[in-house]
């Protein structure tokens, strides 16, 4: 919906979940604005699917959306979700305000790697620290897609972007490690190549009381794939990579570049360099949640005279 262009009705698909998407339900347009090979379509579809399957009331889960390509997920997300567009990086602060003002709501934040770790890094740390009840989905495509392929805080070492034409030599930031240090109570990382696990984690996060961080590794074919070779993350083997110019090759690369958490324990730093460790990193249901703790303060101060 970010574009102003007309939305033409498209043929109604048989797919049971796409029909509940915002664009389809309201405008009869079942397409999306994403590039071919993008992973956001999968995420939008899974989001709608969880709400439809579990018969959740989308009104109690306001959707707060940051700035990035994924802003256009509104067209794919459930038509009944209340969509609030945040400024670049400020979604966690808005979620904190909503949660405190109305603790019955559980905000879901769509944010990207640049949104949450770049410009909104501070807000991200502090929402984890407070353990405000919300779900944060970080879509990590290791590039700034919406502005045209600039380097992101998560861009892998050695990869190319429009603002690092030769190679990226900065250390990448790791959302999971940051969240672990900041104190979020449910932290997981998964990729769009593992959709069922992603749904499992998302369901777990929806039922968890506290800040849930799910980092989703997603491909950006247009700006990341077309510029980089699939040897990224396998440098230690010294293999010659080939171009990632189709969606399939990118998904292949993501699958190959991911290491299960249990597997990673037996690998050394060199082997894990530039690779993604997937799995659940923390699940702590006992950690006090901010709005619940605040309710206790309210009760106490009301009783005092």
């Amino acid at each position: 919906m970010s574009g102003l262009g007309p939305r033409y009705p498209t043929e109604k698909p048989d797919h049971p979940y796409v029909q509940h998407s915002f664009g389809g339900f309201l405008f009869g347009s079942y397409n999306s604005l994403f590039c071919a090979g993008c992973g956001y379509g999968i995420i939008g579809h899974l989001f709608t699917r969880v709400f439809e399957d579990d018969k959740l009331d989308p009104l109690s889960f306001p959707l707060i959306i940051g700035i990035g390509c994924y802003t256009q997920l509104v067209t794919l997300a459930h038509h009944n979700s209340q969509k609030i567009f945040a400024l670049h990086g400020r979604a966690p602060a808005i979620a904190t305000g909503i949660k405190l003002a109305n603790p019955k709501l559980k905000p879901i934040i769509f944010t990207g790697d640049g949104d949450s770790l770049g410009i909104g890094g501070n807000h991200f740390i502090h929402i984890c620290r407070r353990n405000v009840d919300c779900v944060i989905l970080i879509f990590n495509n290791s590039i700034y897609g919406m502005t045209g392929g600039q380097g992101a805080p998560t861009t892998l070492y050695g990869s190319k972007s429009t603002t690092s034409t030769y190679k990226t030599f900065e250390n990448r930031s790791d959302a999971v490690k940051l969240a672990l240090a900041a104190g979020a109570s449910y932290i997981a990382r998964i990729t769009v190549a593992h959709p069922r696990t992603l749904m499992k984690y998302f369901r777990k996060a929806l039922n968890h009381k506290g800040t849930s961080i799910i980092e989703v590794i997603t491909p950006c074919l247009t700006y990341f794939g077309s510029k980089n070779l699939d040897s990224l993350g396998a440098e230690y083997l010294g293999i010659q990579g080939s171009k990632m110019d189709t969606g399939g090759k990118m998904i292949d690369w993501i699958k190959r570049n991911c290491v299960r958490k249990n597997q990673a324990r037996f690998m050394d730093d060199e082997e894990l360099f530039n690779r993604y460790i997937i799995g659940e990193f923390r699940y702590d249901a006992s950690k006090p949640e901010y709005s619940e703790e605040y309710a206790k303060i309210q009760k106490r101060s009301m009783e005092e005279d």
């Binding site: 919906m1 970010s2 102003l4 915002f22 309201l26 009104l59 109690s60 306001p62 707060i64 509104v74 038509h79 209340q82 969509k83 609030i84 567009f85 945040a86 400024l87 400020r90 966690p92 602060a93 808005i94 979620a95 904190t96 305000g97 909503i98 405190l100 003002a101 109305n102 019955k104 709501l105 501070n122 807000h123 740390i125 502090h126 605040y294 303060i297 309210q298 106490r300 101060s301 009301m302 009783e303 005092e304 005279d305």
Partner: protein
């Protein structure tokens, strides 16, 4: 001060209160339920007072990680259906403008108390007053929109005008500023708190409307009036399908007519200027010299005018309580027969002098009395009056 009371409204009576506390109490009386702030001298007493008082009335007060986060939390709370505010000073306001601009475009109401201090940096005499944010407040952000700014001059008004500010925010759905400053915020003065019933009668509540199809302001084609619906509340049925950061119509759907959208954002305030602009006149009946002032300097002007009147100089005060939007028509009417205009301001630029310059006839001279970091002494104003009357 310690207030042993677990109710939203203080018992009727006279209290000695600090300006920042009076403002906070005014906000509570107006139905404040959320405060998100970040400490900054000289506004810190606001968050310190509300952190104790808000939980008592079932509201919440949170110290966020920075000003960017505090204003965004305020916006979030306002979207969730409670009255929300924040307080800051110049450097904090600079950080907040990004979100103020978004809130104005999405018509999310909130109140911001700007306790101004001597600028421009972060160090220096931060407990001295300086009305230096007026220009920033008027165009507080990127994009085009109008704000409302009220300038109290004593603690009693800080209490009362804060209630008015919340009412304006609810009615016009725009950012509303309270222009305070370091001296006013730290001033201890008697404040009369009216009985609870009287306050409740004045306050406009956040409620759900009858009509669930219109979420944003629009121009009624039949009457030509601007209609401002109630603020949408997240978690209820009354919420737009999307809240877009682009020109949208009353239903929240994108429109290609950007001009009409901008016109709506500005005209919804300007067309109601008669209801918004609060002004006061003092001994203006036959005045030839007119003092136009706002905020603290007005208090020095009263004394100066009284002395000048005793000496037979025809001088009066036109006080702006609502500073923005600037009441062009009213000022034009007042200065119609004036021979000279004096504008004492707590800044060098003369933000209001510029506005008066814009609306006055060519031949009337304007004398600015700039002052930074300290009060105007009535003597200084009197001297200028005498000089001008020669």
């Amino acid at each position: 001060m310690s207030i042993k009371n677990n109710k939203r409204y203080l018992p009727e009576g006279k209290y000695v209160m600090m300006g920042n506390v009076a403002m906070s109490e005014g906000a509570l009386a107006a139905g404040l339920n959320f405060f998100g702030g970040y400490p900054i001298t000289p506004s810190t007493e606001v968050i310190e007072h509300l952190t104790k008082r808000l939980p008592e009335v079932g509201g919440s007060c949170i110290q966020m990680e920075d000003e960017l986060a505090s204003i965004n939390a305020v916006i979030g709370a306002s979207l969730a259906g409670v009255k929300a505010m924040t307080a800051t000073s110049g450097p904090g306001l600079s950080l907040m403008v990004e979100t103020i601009s978004m809130a104005a475009n999405l018509e999310i109401p909130f109140v911001l108390c700007d306790v101004q201090r001597v600028g421009p940096g972060s160090h220096g005499p931060v407990t001295s007053p300086h009305h230096n944010d007026l220009g920033l407040i008027r165009f507080a952000g990127h994009g085009e929109f109008q704000v409302i700014a009220l300038a109290p001059m004593n603690c009693q008004e800080l209490f009362e005008l804060t209630i008015t500010a919340f009412n304006f925010a609810e009615t016009y759905r725009c950012p509303v500023f309270i222009i305070s400053d370091a001296y006013l915020g730290h001033l201890h003065e008697p404040v009369y708190i009216p009985p609870k019933e009287q306050i409740i009668k004045k306050v406009i509540k956040r409620e759900l409307p009858q009509d669930y199809t219109k979420f944003f302001s629009y121009k009624d084609d039949m009457t030509g009036q601007y209609v401002i619906p109630k603020t949408p509340i997240a978690g209820t049925e009354y919420f737009p399908p999307t809240s877009l950061h682009l020109p949208h119509n009353y239903a929240g759907l994108p429109t290609s007519n950007s001009l009409e959208f901008m016109e709506m954002l500005i005209e919804k305030i300007i067309s109601n200027i008669d209801k918004i602009s609060i002004t006061e006149e003092y001994r203006l009946e036959d005045a030839e010299i007119i003092i136009i002032a706002y905020g603290l300097p007005v208090r020095a002007c009263y004394r100066a005018v009284d002395i000048a009147r005793e000496q037979g100089i025809k001088v009066g005060i036109f006080r702006l309580v609502t500073v923005w939007p600037f009441p062009d028509k009213k000022v034009k009417e007042v200065i119609k027969n004036a021979k000279a205009i004096i504008v004492p301001e707590l800044n060098y630029t003369g933000f209001i002098a510029e506005q008066v310059e814009r609306v006055k006839k060519l031949e009337i001279p304007i004398v600015k009395i700039p002052k930074v970091g300290e009060f105007h002494h009535p003597e200084e104003i009197l001297n200028v009056i005498k000089e001008v009357s020669k």
